[in-house]
């Protein structure tokens, strides 16, 4: 029952919000829905609560899915609270060029959360594909909330590129199904894993299916060289959506790759790990290259997401699953805080160009302090948990690969902190904007939670 209510609660909220047509109602409904959603997630037991759609098709939360579900829930609540205060201020400034009503926006946002929930609960490849494609469809209109040529272009690229990518994943899914010689009655993860573990599969078809599925879901996850749509979509979207896209949606695509990695039989493990390592490392390199010459702070955050997806893929490639999960949760929280802080800056300065953001420490002191903290955290400065996951990754990777990863991380650290420091630097000509600074408390709480998590991890590692 809990599983079903988790799926249906956001849909009910969306209906209320859509038909109310009032921004005030939509804000309240969004916040109440998010609170309920998080509460249900907190009490959701991991295995027993299964929802049987048919005899062979079930929805349930397993450990890997639960981590991604938890990451979605702990993002949804702060984002909706932020949205509660952000929406009226945004309406003041941008009411003239909205692509849709604020109530419709809130409704689509809730549908989007529902589709992500379905992704985490799906227990077979068919349902997983349907859910991942649905996340694309539900999130695409949100990018165009502030109507402009740029956002329209970003939405079009996102729709077309992601749909084709996910189409490839559907083709790959069918090839995988064919590779099993149609032996399985269902296409659930557990059943497929049993078959491949016993060698009941056709290797050529399995490899072809794996490659297509990998390419499709890696595209959705933003691994380079399939990342081209990501910076556009994540920078053009309004901030609450950017936070959800970077913090939650990428994880859902990642979960699909984890499911895929899970069914790989032991004699093909090297083959699969090679893909994760290569594309992970490539993403890291591409992100480093684009971050150092970045002129737009939201795009910088988007490229940082590409970097972290690469790091998670590397962690999976080196079979450090627990640390990959830790990385997922911490990256989601920090990236959400950074996007929400970027929203404050955007509202106050009205530009996304770093060169035009001057004297942040004087104008928005709270936001500026947490912005700097967040940037340091996302680059893996202790007590951020990312420090420990990156440490483990470098250790697992060995001397040559490890030092290459470290060098790229250093480049990214230099690039991001240089941009952040330039924005932070005091400027006497800039006056304070106390009203714009009020919204920095929610990201601050998230950052505090992340540092607590990091200290706990450190404690665990020493002890």
């Amino acid at each position: 029952m809990l599983t079903l209510s988790l799926l249906l609660l956001p849909v009910c909220g969306a209906l209320i919000s859509f038909f109310s047509e009032k921004p005030a109602v939509a804000r309240w409904v969004l916040m109440i829905t998010a609170t309920g959603y998080t509460a249900i997630c907190a009490v959701l037991p991991i295995h027993p609560d299964q929802l049987h759609l048919t005899e062979t098709l079930t929805l349930a939360a397993d450990p890997a899915g639960f981590v991604v579900l938890a990451a979605t829930a702990i993002l949804f609540l702060p984002v909706s609270v932020y949205n509660f205060f952000w929406m009226p201020r945004d309406l003041e400034k941008n009411a003239a060029h909205l692509g849709m009503k604020p109530s419709t926006f809130a409704a689509i946002l809730m549908i989007f959360v529902s589709t992500m929930t379905l992704t985490t609960l799906a227990q077979d490849f068919g349902m997983l594909w349907v859910a991942v494609e649905a996340t694309t469809l539900a999130s695409a209109p949100l990018i165009n909330y502030h109507r402009s040529k740029g956002s329209l272009e970003a939405m079009w690229k996102y729709l077309l590129i992601c749909s084709i990518g996910i189409g490839l994943a559907l083709f790959g899914t069918m090839l995988l199904s064919a590779s099993l010689n149609f032996a399985s009655a269902s296409f659930g993860f557990a059943a497929v894993k049993r078959l491949t573990a016993h060698g009941f599969f056709n290797p050529a078809w399995f490899k072809a299916g794996f490659v297509l599925c990998f390419a499709g879901y890696a595209l959705k996850m933003g691994l380079a060289p399939f990342h081209t749509w990501l910076p556009d979509a994540h920078s053009e979207a309004p901030v609450p959506v950017s936070a959800m896209l970077s913090g939650s949606l990428l994880n859902c695509a990642l979960l699909a790759l984890l499911r895929l990695n899970d069914i790989v039989p032991s004699d093909l493990e090297g083959f699969a790990a090679g893909y994760f390592k290569f594309f992970g490392f490539f993403s890291l390199a591409v992100a480093a290259f684009f971050i150092i010459r970045q002129k737009d702070y939201k795009r910088m955050l988007a490229y940082s997401s590409v970097e972290h997806m690469g790091l998670i893929a590397l962690l999976i490639g080196f079979a450090a699953m627990d640390y990959a999960m830790l990385h997922i949760i911490s990256h989601s929280l920090i990236k959400m805080s950074l996007f929400l802080l970027a929203g404050n800056i955007l509202l106050s300065y009205g530009t996304r160009e770093t060169a035009l953001v001057k004297g942040l420490s004087g104008r928005l002191p709270g936001t500026a302090a947490f912005w700097l903290t967040g940037i340091l955290f996302i680059c893996g400065t202790p007590p951020s948990p990312l420090f420990f996951t990156e440490l483990v990754l470098v250790k697992e990777a060995g001397i040559a690969a490890g030092s290459a990863i470290l060098a790229l991380l250093l480049v990214i650290f230099c690039g991001m902190s240089q941009i952040a420091l330039k924005m932070y630097a005091p400027d006497k000509n800039i006056g304070a904007d106390p009203a714009g600074d009020k919204l920095c408390r929610i990201p601050a709480i998230a950052l505090a939670a992340v540092s607590a998590l990091g200290i706990a991890v450190a404690w665990n590692m020493i002890g």
Partner: protein, 218 residues
Amino acid sequence: MNQMNELFLGIFLCSCLMLAVSSRLLHCIRIVALQGVLLGIMPVTLAIGHGDIHWSVMIINLSLKGIILPCLLYRTMLKAGVKRELEPVIGYSLSAGVVLALILFSFFISGRLSLPAGASDLAGLAVPCSFAVVMTGLFTVIARKKALTQVIGFLVFENGITLFGAAVMREHPLIVELGILLDVLVLVFIMGISVFQISREFSHIDADRLNSLKEEAR
């Protein structure tokens, strides 16, 4: 019945070649509709002699892919006010050559893949055909400029995947099948709206001119 299915597969290949050479968007939409109708009928003709026929799936498939999607495309075409693809990235005669090469290539590849045991009798022909349709769809997305033609290319791509599913493997569970159809329907709906918005904002729907968002431009 097998001869009839082979005929259908032949029509599929012909429709790919026709798509490559037609410049009128209405023509392209008709080709998509034709493929949709064939995809609606094929599960039934395949199942004759094998027992259970899913009439509900057939009716939904036929009405969605054969009627509703083409109608949505047609409406978008009227609203956006475009009739022809005037300057494609790759010319029409060259496109025909490329699609022909893609068809040959897919027969070459599938000749080297051993068919999975338990596949239907038709699989030997259906595998290369579906590969060819998938690649033609992708080629159309790359080789044409208009956003609407790219949507058509995507639908052909998706038809190829469905063809593979219908002719080679056993069906997905019904809910998944319906979920896939629903996704495609919503996708075409949203894409239709955005094509219309693009035509209003930019006064053209050339997707290759949607290029303001890149690193150098900033």
